[in-house]
């Protein structure tokens, strides 16, 4: 068994509580990603699981055993550090075999296990080299190899790709996913990069300020965020937020009025709110549509007047940034619209209208909690339907 269970985990440094009560279960063989902004406690939580930090309160179980005070080397875990932490005076083979040497494993067995791990990671030709003679990607694979050799129950990764360039990061992400499939091991991965989180994780834990904001699959978190923080953290460009007032509610559809006076409909259950309540409307950039002024008068969805400020062509998409008209005609914050790159975008300075599709917008209350969306279940594209 290689499950990990955290119950009521808290961590305090002097008078500063950095982990404020974490309850989380990680199943055997699961690839879980801890993601969040800097200072949210994700690395601290990982270090707590590793045994490099003490637990102030709560219970940690690894493989069904309470491990609060168990030494790091006896927890059945192996960790890949952000800096790789390869011993500079040892060769690659010595680095990978160091833990086994400390455990007094026979030399022949050490050589065998190191060789097999090197084969999996395709680094057999590097075994006699010192770390300073390796590239960043090679060092990273050696660090992973050092973890594999120990045959741990749980792998811990602390932002292992952050020192690599973009191209290598993409390539290594694929390799990590392959490794997980091959080893069938429980993996806990810490990153601040939402792309890594969304592509690698079977389950994502979004952390903020020492607490869990939401736990779920990438699809769940992206399409059903529990609160404004999760909605804004995942997605690039981030979700657009508009301050609004609840002005109507009827059968799963809420009417809200934006600061500039525009009225839009949102498919959300707002039964727990009162009319006149301050709410936040959230729409992802890819769900906004740009219309010529006047077109929205004939549509059921409301439109918001805006002025294009900046157009960014990225090759596969075009990002249009526009200032939305606020109260009394004043400009408010900038919103981002993701457009198809094949379509000519409006020029900077153009006045446009932005359409909010009711079925793709979110409403959040004053505390940031989402009003339950009232959508039809997401239909799968024909190619992806199960046979």
């Amino acid at each position: 068994m290689a499950s990990v269970s955290l119950r009521g985990i808290k961590k305090q440094y002097d008078n500063n509580q950095v982990i404020k009560g974490i309850d989380l279960s990680i199943a055997d063989g699961e690839f879980v990603v801890f993601v969040g902004p800097s200072g949210c406690g994700k690395s601290t939580l990982l270090r707590i699981i590793a045994g490099l930090e003490d637990i102030s309160e709560g219970t940690l179980e690894i493989g069904g055993q309470v491990s609060n005070t168990v030494e790091p080397s006896r927890r059945g875990i192996a960790m890949v550090f952000q800096s790789y932490a390869l011993y500079p005076h040892m060769s690659v083979a010595e680095n990978m075999g160091f833990a086994l040497k400390l455990a007094k494993v026979p030399k022949a067995e050490i050589a065998g296990r190191v060789g097999r791990a090197a084969q999996i990671l395709q680094i057999e030709h590097l075994l006699e080299r010192k770390p300073k003679a390796l590239s960043g990607g090679q060092r990273q694979r050696v660090a992973i190899g050092r973890a594999i050799v120990r045959k741990p129950q749980v792998f811990l990764f602390d932002e292992p790709l952050s020192n690599l360039d973009a191209a290598l990061r993409g390539q290594t992400r694929v390799e990590l996913a392959r490794l997980h499939r091959e080893l069938q091991a429980t993996m806990i991965y810490v990153t601040h990069d939402q792309v890594e989180a969304m592509t690698l994780g079977q389950k994502i834990v979004v952390l903020n300020g020492g607490r869990i904001e939401q736990v779920g699959t990438p699809v769940d978190l992206y399409e059903r965020p529990a609160n404004k923080f999760v909605a804004g953290f995942l997605g690039s460009p981030r979700m657009n937020f508009f301050e609004a007032t609840l002005v109507g509610e009827a059968g799963g559809s809420a009417g809200v009025m934006l600061a500039g006076g525009a009225r839009v409909q949102v498919a959300a259950d707002v039964a727990r709110a009162q009319l006149g309540a301050r709410v936040t409307l959230g729409v992802r950039p890819e769900h906004l549509q740009i219309m010529r002024p006047g077109v929205t008068e004939t549509r059921q969805d409301g439109g918001v007047k805006a002025t294009v400020a900046l157009v960014e062509y990225l090759g596969d998409v075009t990002l249009v940034y526009a200032h939305v008209e606020g109260a009394a005609g004043a400009e408010s914050e900038m919103v981002a619209v993701k457009c198809d790159a094949d379509i000519a975008p409006p020029a900077p300075g153009s006045r446009v209208e932005l359409v909010f599709p009711a079925s793709r917008a979110f409403l959040f209350d004053a505390d940031g909690l989402v009003f339950a969306p009232v959508w039809a279940e997401r239909e799968e594209a024909p190619l992806l339907q199960a046979r």
Binding site: S73, A85, Y87, R150
Partner: protein, 281 residues
């Protein structure tokens, strides 16, 4: 025009700098060269009224007599043994203390480190009487333990090691802990190899200091057989009176092992000091 003037000025500064270095080097090496010149001439030439830079009559008699008379071989052995023991024990204690102060977290760590560094403020001379009384009570007068023990605590070495260990990323220690290493194993297998050059530098400096130490052996040793080289040379002087050639020969023979050691390990010493300073060599 301005360019050539600037170049001439630059050349002038360079020449002046080189000349100053040559002068300082000459001043620094003159005593050594004069000692060699004195040791290689007959005794009567050393007190001759006529001054000669070099010996008129080259001879190794002074070295022959020095090695045959007195107790020089025994003193050389004592110096080597004491210096090696002081170096080994000082390095062991300092490395462990520095590692604890740098990497371990325990109550009172900062206070303990401050107390250890307070020893900087105490001159060794102020400790002579209490140290002598302690060694006497322990029965360690005229013993190797008595010679070695008071010399093995060096706040300077602890400080240098601690500063260096502070610069080593904590990830190395944590990775070793995850691999199953205890504190001593982490120090031996990870920190010590990484700190190789600085350890060599401190070891050489400690060795030279222990070899050249005159004051403490002078206090703790009364037996001729237990003397170290610096102490033994004063006995030579008393025994030979004003035999300068033999005196210089004794001094050169006493300094020879340390000089050879430094010559062999000079590169490591330089690298060690560069590593400690954070500069790239």
């Amino acid at each position: 025009m301005n360019g050539s003037m600037a170049q001439r000025a630059q050349l002038g500064w360079t020449v002046a700098g080189v000349a100053a270095c040559v002068l300082l080097a000459a001043l620094w090496t003159f005593p050594l060269l004069w000692a060699m010149s004195t040791a290689l001439r007959p005794e009567h030439e050393t007190v001759s009224a006529v001054f000669h830079w070099l010996p008129q009559d080259w001879t190794l008699d002074a070295f022959r007599i020095t090695l045959g008379a007195g107790n020089l071989p025994r003193w050389l052995f004592n110096s080597a043994l004491v210096a090696l023991l002081v170096t080994a024990v000082t390095m062991a204690i300092s490395l462990m203390a520095a590692y604890a102060f740098s990497q371990l977290r325990f109550r009172g760590r900062s206070l303990l480190f401050a107390v250890a560094m307070l020893a900087f403020l105490l001159p060794f001379e102020a400790l002579l009487v209490p140290l002598f009384r302690t060694m006497n009570q322990l029965g360690l007068i005229n013993s190797y333990a008595g010679l070695v023990l008071p010399q093995v605590v060096s706040p300077v070495v602890i400080y240098v090691f601690k500063q260096f260990f502070d610069q080593i990323p904590a990830d190395f220690r944590e990775a070793a802990v995850m691999d199953g290493a205890g504190p001593l194993r982490v120090l031996w297998s990870v920190y010590l190899p990484i700190s190789g050059n600085i350890v060599w530098a401190m070891a050489i400096v400690t060795f030279i200091g222990a070899w050249n130490n005159f004051l403490w052996p002078f206090i703790i040793v009364t037996s001729n057989d237990m003397m170290t080289i610096p102490l033994g040379l004063t006995q030579t002087y008393d025994a030979f009176g004003v035999r300068y050639a033999q005196l210089m020969a004794s001094a050169l023979l006493g300094a020879l092992p340390v000089g050879l050691a430094y010559a062999l390990f000079q590169r490591r010493v330089t690298q060690g000091f560069l590593a400690a300073s954070g500069l790239k060599g």
